[in-house]
Symmetry: C2
Subunit: 412 residues, 2 copies
DNA sequence: TCGTTTTAGTAACGCAACGTGCGTTACTAT
DNA sequence: ATAGTAACGCACGTTGCGTTACTAAAACGA
């Protein structure tokens, strides 16, 4: 096998230039461009661009459309990338829901399908819901399985991307060890990818979120669990053992500030999650509002069957002193962990996602304040995710799209 | 400017293939290869390889040597990369010494020059020592300034690589703000690079140290100061603000376990350095050996003018209970910070350098023990650096070599 | 000593892809 | 109707690759 890649003939030039023209075309406005535009963006001559476009047209990747813009001179033919030639699916398998999105090769989302997972659904049941969701989403888009070029599944837990299954998934019983990728591949007959949900969410934030084009980025999922996805120098980084960014397991050696000797919420949680996860925040809020210090909020937080902490942030937003104090303590704890992450990674930007990000600046402003002095250089920007629950499934779509690049160049 | 890189003519093929042949030749054993060898490694035909070699010979990058291996058939001519065509210099500007190494384009070190920095030398004086060291090293190699293709300077502190100067260097007074790169470039008339010392050391460990070829790597400099250099997916990562891996400033929120309310040793040190830096270890050892618990060691540590902690590890190696206890507490503290780094970065391997690495397994075995349970997956390998004080200067050589790649391809 | 074998180098040919230059086409404006 | 403009497309020359055929140089064996 050649160690240094060499060009073994003029056909290599064609490959390079066809790929260059296709890339330029896909990056153009609405994936439509005139020959003259492609000449300038690629630096190629007119015959070269025309030849490349002819190849792409033969492969059905490109079609010619008339130019409507009435200007002077002979109207230009415009080449359009046929994004409808193939489609990809992104799937977010969460503990409570399954989200499926179908997009074309331009990344345009055609359909979205949402399935609420029944409580205590087992792994095989979840898998059946995934396939059902895919079927319905594909059908709703007017497509068949054969139109899918790639599918990417995002799931919590630790993922074995080589074997295509989940190694550890505490939040979905029986999901770990299921051969998700092989089974899906057999059903769909297309490449199937699997990745950790947070690793995909960070891709989405860089693609269509609040960190577009950022070169080094940290996405922190802040909810019951705490995890992070990393993008370093433009590429996702998962670590040597697919365990990079496990902020939830950071042990700051902090004394548990609340008096109740709280047991580990459930198996497999880490120290930092037990300190500032949603459950810990709820407990802290209940404890700090007890004794009549804030009867209203205490009542809301301890209502039967109620574990939601939204009332806490609502109260803090209106200035309730106790709620503000709770939020401030939560922010201080969180900033200690996030500060360590920023100190070691030095990202260009941090995006906070997950349930806690709904609190917005009510929570993030104190976090930013407590970060001051913890990071070395100029303050790193901390933003709330704007993608909401779509982050993971959009990242899955993006990852699936990326995987189709080689199939595209192979066609032409 | 072209957004997608295209091939604008057959000459691009030549460029590709000349570069491929040169790369294959440089990667070959002793940078010597027969045409047949290059054919197999590049996948090119014999005439193509011959043409590429002719170009390289015209550019004086390659010469032909006779084949000594007596085998049947017509003896092959062998192409040899003329590593002596150019040279690079690496410089390590430390607080106590300046190291200069001159190497040829194959990375073979020709000369090494060492200058002890006078105590309290100012920035300009240090700069003069650097130029003097470069002059002498170049002369000792039988070269002139014109033979230098690139120079890389490694220095502690935070480095502004764009402006080519040090922003913050607490250990060398007056060194920060000096226009090191512009001045050196004017004197030497060649590209001059500057980088943080630890960022360079990690390059050396991957090149000629104990982590050859490792794709994701953390190098921890453990001495008076504590800093890290990161390699992620094969490329050095410095962070968005050139502040990645600042482990020394990690604040674990640990209570200062020693009774003495120790003041900050000097300006600009971080919490973790104040906890397990060499000075902190010395103080801890003095405190824990006091009160007659280990008179011999206490006397060695408190000898007039003595701040060295080597006796501590010597005593621990021979099994002195108090010394072992001190080392164990140091290791526990250090493992907490290193564990955080491993948890967040998930590197393939960790290399410990700096003065403390001289303690070897006496210190690292306890560190490994205390790391168990702090990292999520299988235990990450922790090794002591084998490069000693050469790590930074070797990394500077490697970085300078890397920067010559484009000049090489431009020549051919 | 000389032919045979084996491997290396080189020249000639055909093919493919590039850029350049120029004629052609199609539409607008006067 | 005619001039002007902008895009299209073909012919040409150049370059570089692979293939093929031939020559050159050394070791081995008769």
């Amino acid at each position: 096998m050649p160690s240094a890649t060499a060009a073994t003939g003029p056909h290599v030039l064609r490959q390079i230039n066809v790929a260059a023209v296709l890339t330029a075309l896909r990056q153009a406005e609405r994936a439509v461009a005139r020959v003259a535009d492609l000449m300038t963006t690629t630096g190629l001559s007119r015959p070269a661009v025309t030849r490349a476009l002819a190849d792409l047209r033969d492969a059905d990747l490109v079609e010619l459309v008339a130019d409507e813009t009435t200007r002077i001179g002979r109207p230009a033919q415009r080449a359009r990338f046929r994004a409808e030639l193939g489609h990809v699916a992104g799937v977010d398998v969460g503990p409570h829901k399954i989200l499926v999105k179908i997009a074309d090769l331009a990344g345009e989302v055609l359909t979205t399908h949402r399935i609420a997972t029944p409580p205590a659904a087992t792994g095989p049941e979840v898998f059946d819901l995934v396939t059902a969701g895919l079927d319905q989403a594909v059908a709703a888009a007017g497509l068949t399985h054969a139109d899918l070029w790639a599918v990417c599944v995002g799931t919590p837990g630790i993922v074995d991307r080589d074997h295509g299954e989940v190694v550890l998934a505490p939040s979905i019983p029986g999901w770990a060890g299921l051969p998700v990728v092989p089974q899906l591949r057999d059903q769909l007959h297309c490449p199937v990818l699997i990745d950790n949900d947070v690793n995909l969410a960070v891709l989405a934030e860089r693609w269509r979120g609040t960190a577009i084009g950022v070169e080094s980025l940290v996405f922190v999922q802040w909810g019951e669990r705490i995890g992070t996805g990393l993008i370093i120098d433009g590429a996702p980084y998962r670590g040597a053992h697919a365990a990079a960014g496990e902020l939830g397991f950071l042990d700051l050696g902090l004394p548990p500030n609340d008096p109740t000797g709280r047991p580990a919420a459930n198996e497999g949680t880490g120290p930092f999650e037990r300190l500032v996860g949603a459950a810990a925040i709820h407990e802290l809020a209940v404890a700090m509002t007890a004794g009549g210090r804030d009867r209203d909020l205490h009542a809301q937080l301890t209502a039967p069957g109620e574990r939601d902490i939204a009332p806490l942030f609502a109260a803090a937003a209106t200035g309730s002193p106790v709620a503000v104090a709770v939020v401030d303590r939560v922010a201080a704890r969180f900033a200690q962990g996030l500060g360590a992450l920023i100190l070691l990674m030095d990202p260009e930007q941090v995006v906070i996602g997950g349930g806690l990000s709904r609190a917005g600046d009510t929570l993030l402003d104190p976090v930013r304040r407590h970060l001051v002095g913890r990071t070395l250089s100029s303050p790193t920007e901390v933003r709330a995710s704007t993608l909401g629950e779509d982050a993971v499934v959009l990242g899955a779509v993006r990852h699936a799209l990326d995987s189709t690049a080689e199939r595209l160049t192979a066609l032409a």
